[in-house]
Amino acid sequence: MNDKVTLMKGNEALAVAAIRYGADGYFGYPITPQSEVLEKLEEEMPWETTGMVVLQAESEVAAINMVYAGASCGKTVLTSTSSPGFSLMQEGMSYMAASEVPALVINVMRGGPGLGTIHPSQADYFQAVKGGGHGDYRLITLAPASVQEMVDFVALGWDLAFKYRAVSMILADGVIGQMMEKVVLPEQRPRHTEEWIRENCPWAVNGRKGMRPKNIITSLELDDDKMEENNHRFQATYREIEKNEQRCELINTDDCDYLIVAFGSMARISQKAMELAAEEGIKVGIARPITLWPFPVDAIRKAAEGVKGILSVELSAGQLIEDIKLATDCNYPVDIFYRLGGNVPAPDEILNALKEKLVNKLG
């Protein structure tokens, strides 16, 4: 057996990946189904090895503002939460976007609205990709479908956040957070030094030492013209991200009659439905958006070419489907199958929906 392979829950993998990336600080507040992130960090005690700070804040509002502060200093910081906690963080998200600071925020979604249930959901899709806080901003949104991707996307999220001075978000759900799978962990990286931060984050507030003009991190700009200019700069960055960072996995899409579009846990379950469909001679392909924003428009368009119909499979009542329709300019019949409120469909439910909504209608 490969010694580097281990078995881990998705939530635990997030915690270990953050330490291995060389994170400076985690600030969070426990909430099911992602409490294992904080638990694992406390078990690992990285403050004794890498010097990483792990702090249980008094609330999600405090946690996100601690992340805002750490990020303003050019530090590599993160928080994790689940849906109700993520709602509490929206003010901080908007402020961080306006201040152009890099940070990583993880939402392991549960069923809502309100306190809802503790079971899996994807109903925070709009909140993540259309902006949950106020103002025109976007989050780089990564959707892992395996425990390995929980690990990999921690690094990817931070790399992209620092590259674009933007907030990256990992949008997982209770299935991916709670399940255990094989995972290969990266090597431990050293934390960024003060010199690295001075060189790579010249905007950071980390002491002038008499060498440079003052850096100010703020989201407030009362001069309308300057605020408009800021907004144009944000938008220019978002266009760059849309151009460079779309990611999508295509499975069996070269020769399929029907296309399922699904992300995260729903893509995994849909894959089983695809296998069951193949046994019945129905040719199904899957397009799995990995970046939910930027939405992988090009890949979805390519995957859709020549299909008879598209099925959006989601744990929300018609959110992902909107982006599918926009991406394909409504050129194909698109229908939807979903479960709500913490319920997760089994593979045969998806197959039956595919038959009922597309195969039987379109032939």
Partner: protein
């Protein structure tokens, strides 16, 4: 090889741990594995279940509606999962507290007396290992040797002295299966 199994019972019976040990054993054999628990109030004494998949190939869905094997340890779980065993599949159930036994004829059914076996070996805590031993007798998807290795990986070192006792429980479990 691909084995899709659900283990279900009361919270506290060691259902999730049994699944975890099975998953780790699969890892020891370089197989692909997923372990998907029910989580939440179940952990505090209601019904609990876990889906474990051990396979030679990449695993798609961690959530299933039909299983190769169901191991059920109380009446509610039997009622729920009997119908979710694939035709030709296996159902193993502990007889304790079962008022309505399974009735399907298109699957292989094994009734075991694991609760009584814990009394025989004077160790109520080894219940789940006895059940695992019985399961592996029917479906040797992993070797006992690798189960013990997997156990070593899941247990902190201070509990390693309990491994021989677990081995005994696994062997006891195997004796409960009458072909």
């Amino acid at each position: 090889m691909k084995e899709e199994i659900v283990i279900a019972g009361f919270g506290g019976q060691g259902v999730l741990s049994m699944g975890k040990i099975l998953a780790y054993s699969g890892l020891m054999e370089d197989k692909e594995v997923t372990w998907m628990p029910s989580y939440g109030p179940e952990q505090r004494g209601g019904t609990a279940n876990v889906t474990v998949i051990v396979s030679d190939e990449r695993i798609s869905s961690p959530i299933l509606n039909m299983y190769d094997t169901a191991v059920v340890l109380n009446q509610q779980s039997l009622d729920k999962f009997e119908k979710m065993v694939k035709p030709g599949g296996v159902l193993i159930y502990d007889s304790y507290g079962i008022n309505t036994p399974p009735t399907r004829t298109d699957i292989k059914i094994y009734r075991i007396e694991a609760t009584e076996a814990t009394i025989e070996i004077n160790n109520s805590k080894a219940f789940n290992m006895i059940v695992l031993g019985a399961y592996l007798k029917v479906k040797p998807v992993v070797t006992i040797e690798n189960v013990l290795k997997g156990l070593k990986k899941t247990l902190p070192e201070r509990h390693w002295h309990l491994i021989p006792m677990n081995e005994e429980a696994l062997k006891k479990g195997a004796t409960l299966i009458n072909e």
